[in-house]
Amino acid sequence: MSSLFRGYQPESFFDEVFAGPGATRPHYGAMLGNIGSLSPDDYSALQRTVDAAFLRQGVTFTVYGDDKGTERIFPFDLMPRIIPQREWEMVEAGLIQRITALNLFLNDIYHGQKIIADGVVPADLVLSASHYRPEFRGIKVPHGIYIHICGTDLVRDGKGDYYVLEDNGRCPSGASYMLENRNAMKRAFPGLLHSLPVRPVDEYGTMLRETLAHLAPPTVIDPVIVVLTPGIYNSAYFEHCYLAKQMGVPIVEGRDLIMRNDRVFMRTTKGLEQVHVIYRRIDDDFLDPQVFRKDSLLGVPGIINAYRKGHVALANSIGTGVADDKAVYALVPKMIKYYLDQDPILPNVTTYLGVDPKECDYILNNLEQLVVKAVNESGGYGMLMGPSSTAKERADFAERIKANPRNYIAQPVLQLSRHPVFVDDHFEGRHIDLRPYVLYGDRVRVVPGGLTRVALKKGSLVVNSSQGGGSKDTWVLWEDRPDMPAATPPAA
């Protein structure tokens, strides 16, 4: 083996590739044989080629607060992460169970609220979620599905057990990077991909389209689907455009859509065309100035009314953010028990609620050991990493928590699993997570793979792209090698 892995230390973490120093996990055997035979120069030349291709293809996001409208590539680490088949089976079953329970919960919360009446979850906690939309209660949505596209974040702890970190049931992003990462791997390691039984991900566009088509009003045979984007200035515009293209549907902005008789029409050069399903990548707040934020220029006035009347379908539905609230997240195991009478296959991370006085005390007394998160933030914003925080930051957060305890939760610091990442001329361990994409249409489907996000900064636990994160391709195997050791048992 070349010097790429010389001196590589899994340390005390769960390393995805090495069970111990020099002890490769069996499902990584072939890959290490291949990548390990490259010289550092060859490997870094390969990495540069892939980076240049991403830039040329415009697989980029826009950096805000930069006059030049600089576009950057999402840093990509060439060495793929491999998930053995039997691990994936467990992950897949857990994700299906979870999205099923979440949709039953949302349908319940926006109708009879039986789960509250039965005393399983506290009314004040759920109904105080800022993304709860009381104006939407009692509205029938197609097939009772609220979250059609979910990007659940999974992490593994020091023992290698999988946990759900958050659910992302509003407008999860990143699927385009999952697809483009695989394309890059096809160029960089064709032989390796060919020799391993890697499950393809490129059906995502078709699956997404089918999922959306399923929502169309039942009288429509060939529904018109569009992707609604906030516009070319949005950092994820590339993704919106990319997914529209993958599905073969138009991409529109709010001003391209107009209302007639509570129906949505799209302007085309040939006149108006009725739209039946909208994959919207605009937050609830901005979607309809008649209902939500009055000052929104991005939305379509009257679109909610059309949705209420069943003339158009929205994916995801309105008000799914209530399930994304990090305090409501803590209740998901209870939802799974209540609606499905099952135990969660994928457990939650232990979560302390600021709104619970006893737990709030615990949070305030243990700030240094905890990760504190604002319940509605995403993208790695609004959080305190206890162990690496300064006394002043902790004091600041303590004040904020006391002022608005409902708005905060805390979790123990997980020692996220690590994966080798190429740094300068060799590999070093970096923490990773996994975002698989779950689609809920006529059935629930999980794309075999997802976006493995990497905290590129040494020692960092924050994988978000806005905070210096990168990504890897994720290879889910069709079958495991016969000498695979027994799967890590899922944590209870």
Binding site: G231, I232, N234, R260, T269
Partner: protein
């Protein structure tokens, strides 16, 4: 998109051939201002240039047309604009077309291109030219012959007709009004031909560099793909495909303007052009090109946004166009990514 690519291509070729002409003519005896003035005129950006520079100097003009970021029509800015337009219609163009334009933009903004321009500018222009040809080739072989294609051709050919007529106009002034350097005059005509990649084609058409024949070829000959006549013919064809063929009052405005100009060019002789005066003829041609452009804008941008029913929902906000844009820009950025 196509229009900007074509503009970048035309400027590159113009600068390249002018540079060569200058070398042939020899710096001696050539009034720098008189030499470069017509070049500026061709681009239609004299005013913008005069705001930046008091004198017309070769170095300034070249830089102004090639790389200045404060000239909206510099080659660099044309490339940026083409790529930005492509980005907004990325769902409608092929990946290959997109990659080509994005690659050109990356090149134009790179240190490599700056160094190339300063060390050996010809290489820079040639790179832009070949990328533009590449763009047209890729577009030709990957774009379905529907609306996108016709708009693409419309943009390319209108721009080409415009720049071609301006180029011709610079020579009309030259031949009639001044001859700064007697020996340079035939060279000037040869440079004109080179500026539109037509030198060898013309030699096959007519052996001697007779200005009348050159004007005839570049203006009226439909067999030369860059001639004004053949550009207008293609504009007309594209418009017919885009807005249909009504007759009489039903005929769409852009089709009528383009068709009439096409016919006029087809039935005009070079003698008639010279009797009118080349400059006046081209003046009229420019007016009619603008007419076509305006009618296209009215038909496809303004009318397309008109609602088929009069009544507008009350809550629709219609702020001024500029304000709309920046507010929207900000709001678009506010959308948090999950």
């Amino acid at each position: 998109m196509a229009r900007y690519v074509e503009r970048a291509e035309n400027f590159s070729r113009l600068l390249l051939s002018t540079q060569d002409l200058l070398l042939d003519a020899g710096a001696e005896g050539v009034d720098e201002a008189q030499f470069w003035q017509p070049i500026l005129a061709t681009t239609g950006d004299e005013e913008a240039y005069n705001k930046l520079h008091a004198k017309v100097r070769g170095k300034d003009v070249t830089e102004f047309l090639a790389l200045r970021t404060d000239n909206p029509n510099s080659i660099l800015n044309c490339i940026r604009a083409a790529r930005e337009n492509a980005r907004t219609v990325r769902d409608q163009i092929s990946n290959d077309v997109w990659e080509c334009l994005n690659g050109l933009r990356l090149f134009a903004e790179s240190d490599e291109s700056q160094a190339m321009y300063h060390a050996q500018s010809a290489l820079f222009y040639e790179r832009v030219l070949s990328r533009s040809y590449e763009f047209q080739g890729i577009a030709d072989s990957t774009t379905p012959r529907g609306e996108s294609w016709h708009f693409l051709r419309l943009g390319t050919c209108l721009e080409r007709a415009d720049k071609m007529s301006r180029l011709l106009d610079t020579c009309s002034a030259l031949s009639l009004e001044m001859s700064p350097h007697q020996e340079a005059r035939p060279l000037r005509w040869a440079a004109l031909l080179r500026s539109c990649s037509a030198r060898h084609a013309f030699q096959a058409y007519h052996r001697k560099p007779d200005p009348r024949k050159i004007i005839e070829y570049l203006l009226l000959d439909e067999t030369l793909p860059r001639s004004v006549a053949s550009c207008i013919a293609e504009v007309h064809t594209a418009l017919l495909a885009l807005c249909g063929t009504g007759v009489g009052a039903q005929m769409p405005e852009p089709v009528r303007h383009a068709g009439r100009l096409r016919a006029d060019l087809a039935y005009t002789t070079v003698e008639e052009v010279l009797a009118t005066g080349l400059h006046d003829f081209i003046d009229d041609l420019q007016t009619r090109l603008n007419q076509i452009g305006d009618s296209i804008f009215r038909t496809f941008v303004l009318h397309a946004n008109e609602l088929p029913e009069e009544e507008e929902p009350e809550n629709v906000m219609t702020p001024a166009l500029g304000a709309y844009h920046t507010d929207q820009e900000e709001a678009a950025q506010q959308q948090q990514q999950q």
